[in-house]
């Protein structure tokens, strides 16, 4: 299908049989570019990623260098965002914190996708008892308010950034399993799968060559939104003292430390929270935009 026929389909509101193929990257990008929210989201996300990568170059000071003469100083020309309770430059710590959040977001989402998606794929394709067992296990994980399951895991394994990432990843497994199962169930009924099966194509080949590529779009959208959830969750665990060690410039950690001085030096808690909010907002906007762009029927 050409790009032009794809655009006709879009104008008609999108029909399942005529829908542009998902590999049509230029169409998706064009739709994304028409959404101001998605552009803002993508800009925030791009800034966040660049800051994460280039933190050592961008940071004006060593993020660990304490200066006990300049503790809890408000923003100034010398320290743009002020200093923390040990006199460390807040901006430099925030920039390094972006790197940590980026890593946490990617790894925990990676855990969720790599375990959850195959489970959903198997569950949806195999059906029957396998489906029952996998989905009941997922129901059990979903029975917990997600932050609580993460807390339970970190409390038992011991507080650390690695355990926090694993816990956040595990909590998201049922989200991906359910999503993937739903997609697989609908794709499994398509005529080309039936045709493939009838000529004797092995199941693993059908799954990896036909089903999997067609379920990528919802997984990409969900992962974008899930990175936002993961960054918020990691900050929450850090704030509760269940994440990275106290000296690490993780944003939740910084909020927990700064909380003690909230009435004398509020800037210590203002900026890390603002950073979390902007990044989460970016991923949310981009996720919403991607969803609409990949599936025009969803756009309102």
């Amino acid at each position: 299908m050409t790009a032009s026929s794809g655009s006709i389909v879009t104008r008609q509101g999108g029909d399942v049989a005529l829908r542009a193929p998902r590999s049509n990257l230029s169409m998706t990008l064009r739709r994304l570019a028409r959404s101001p929210g998605a552009i803002l989201g993508a800009t925030l996300v791009a800034m966040f990623i660049l800051i994460g990568i280039f933190a050592p170059v961008l940071a004006p000071y060593d993020f660990e260098a304490a200066d006990f003469v300049k503790v809890r100083q408000p923003p100034s020309a010398e320290h743009w965002l002020g200093t923390d309770e040990l006199g460390r430059d807040l901006l430099s710590r925030l920039l390094y914190g972006a790197r940590l959040s980026l890593v946490v977001g990617l790894i925990s989402v990676g855990i969720g996708v790599l375990i959850g998606a195959p489970l959903g794929l198997i569950s949806g394709y195999a059906g029957g008892r396998v489906d029952q067992v996998i989905m009941r296990l997922m129901d059990i994980l979903l029975a917990f308010p997600s932050i609580l399951l993460a807390i339970l895991m970190v409390a038992a394994f011991g507080p650390s950034l690695t355990n926090a990432m694993i816990a956040i990843g595990v909590v998201s497994i049922p989200v991906y399993a359910r999503l993937m199962r739903g997609s697989t169930l609908s794709i499994k009924e398509e005529l080309y799968i039936e045709a493939s099966r009838s000529v004797g194509t092995p199941s693993h080949h059908i799954l990896t060559r036909h089903v999997l590529p067609n379920t990528i779009a919802p997984i990409v959208v969900q992962s974008t939104l899930q990175i936002a959830v993961a960054i918020q969750a990691s900050a929450a665990l850090g704030f509760l003292g269940l994440g990275a060690p106290p000296d690490v410039p993780e944003w939740g950690n910084m909020l927990q430390k700064g909380r003690t001085y909230i009435l004398s030096a509020p800037h210590i808690v203002v900026f890390p929270g603002l950073a979390i909010m902007l990044v989460v907002l970016g991923f949310n906007l981009m996720g919403d935009g991607l969803r609409d762009a990949l599936d025009p029927r969803m756009a309102r």
Partner: protein, 314 residues
């Protein structure tokens, strides 16, 4: 309907059993001897042995779980390592505070979120709609514990200094009076409010496009009545579901809010217990909140089926 309710409750039994098994099992994730984890690191060897015998820790895992389940059903959740009080008692004292906070937050979120959603839908694609949805998006993206901290800065620092006062407008921590309730309620409600606003907008837009709304307008029903009597009433069905589900999520969120405002509920109890490695309390609070979460979800399903009879037959 009775059959549906029964089916829904039966469905929950394996889920609750699985969740309780996970909580029971979590003590095995703690490095070292589970008997020491339960009795406390400072416990005497005699106490550790007593705990081991009581919980059947030398028995096979299924028997241990059976003993655990039996104790839970009798309300025996063990003893707090920190206070020496029964865990059940610790939770019983604090649960009403958490429920109070959750209930008020839900009420506040609905009171603000639903009207914003209606306003947004009735003025779709105007600046009012855009502004409301930006507000909602910020509400979803804002970490609730940070919002809590910002409220403290505003009510205890910024506003008093503007007004030339020497004391906070609202007490930043603690509980007891309605003033104590204001900040935690707003902080906990923010996410839920934003979700309800978005949900109401979507649901209202769908309903307002339907034929019976066009008919009502055509026969001259006043716009207010079209929106509220014909529109909102029907749009409310999915919104009620979301509100119900939010109750469970708020129970989880209370852990963070209670920590920010030193609110004496079970969320704070849980966080404090982690610091003291008080595993019986950790297990007890997680189990109580989870059981509450599952039960509320069932109630929501039942309510949904009552409001929309089509659900019962699917």
């Amino acid at each position: 309907m009775t059959q549906y309710i029964l089916r829904r409750f039966l469905w929950a039994i394996p889920v609750l059993l699985g969740a309780s098994f996970l909580v029971f099992w979590s003590i095995r994730w703690v490095p070292g001897d589970p008997a020491i984890a339960i009795a406390g690191e400072l416990a005497t060897p005699e106490l550790v042995e007593k705990v081991r015998a009581e919980l059947g820790l030398d028995q096979p895992l299924p028997i241990q779980y059976g003993i655990y389940l039996g104790r839970m059903l009798r309300g025996d959740m063990g003893t707090s390592v920190r206070s020496g009080l029964p865990v059940f008692e610790e939770i019983r004292i604090r649960l009403p505070r958490t429920l109070q906070l959750t209930f008020f937050s839900l009420l506040f979120a609905a009171a603000i979120g639903i009207p914003i959603g209606v306003l947004s839908a009735t003025r779709a694609n105007t600046w009012i709609d855009a502004l409301s949805m930006i507000f909602a998006l910020l509400g979803v993206s804002m970490p609730i514990f940070w919002l809590g901290l910002m409220l403290i800065v505003f009510f205890a620092l910024t506003l008093p200094s503007w007004l030339g006062l020497n004391q906070p407008i609202l007490p930043p921590t603690g509980a007891g009076t309605w003033q104590h309730l204001v900040m935690p309620t707003i902080a906990l409600a923010a996410n839920s409010m934003a979700i309800q606003a978005r949900m109401t907008r979507a649901s209202m837009l769908e309903v307002l496009r339907s034929d019976y709304i066009r008919t009502a307008r055509a026969k001259g029903v006043p716009e207010f009545s079209v929106v509220y009597n014909h529109g909102l009433r029907n749009a409310l069905i999915p919104i009620v579901t979301v509100i119900g589900l939010q109750f469970g999520t708020l129970l989880g969120g209370a852990v963070l809010t209670e920590t920010v405002f030193a609110w004496p509920g079970i969320g704070r109890l849980l966080v404090d217990s982690i610091g003291y490695r008080d595993y019986p309390v950790i297990q007890g609070t997680v189990l109580v909140i989870t059981v509450g979460f599952v039960l509320v979800n069932i109630l929501v399903d039942v309510l949904y089926a009552y409001l929309d009879p089509r659900i019962r037959y699917t």
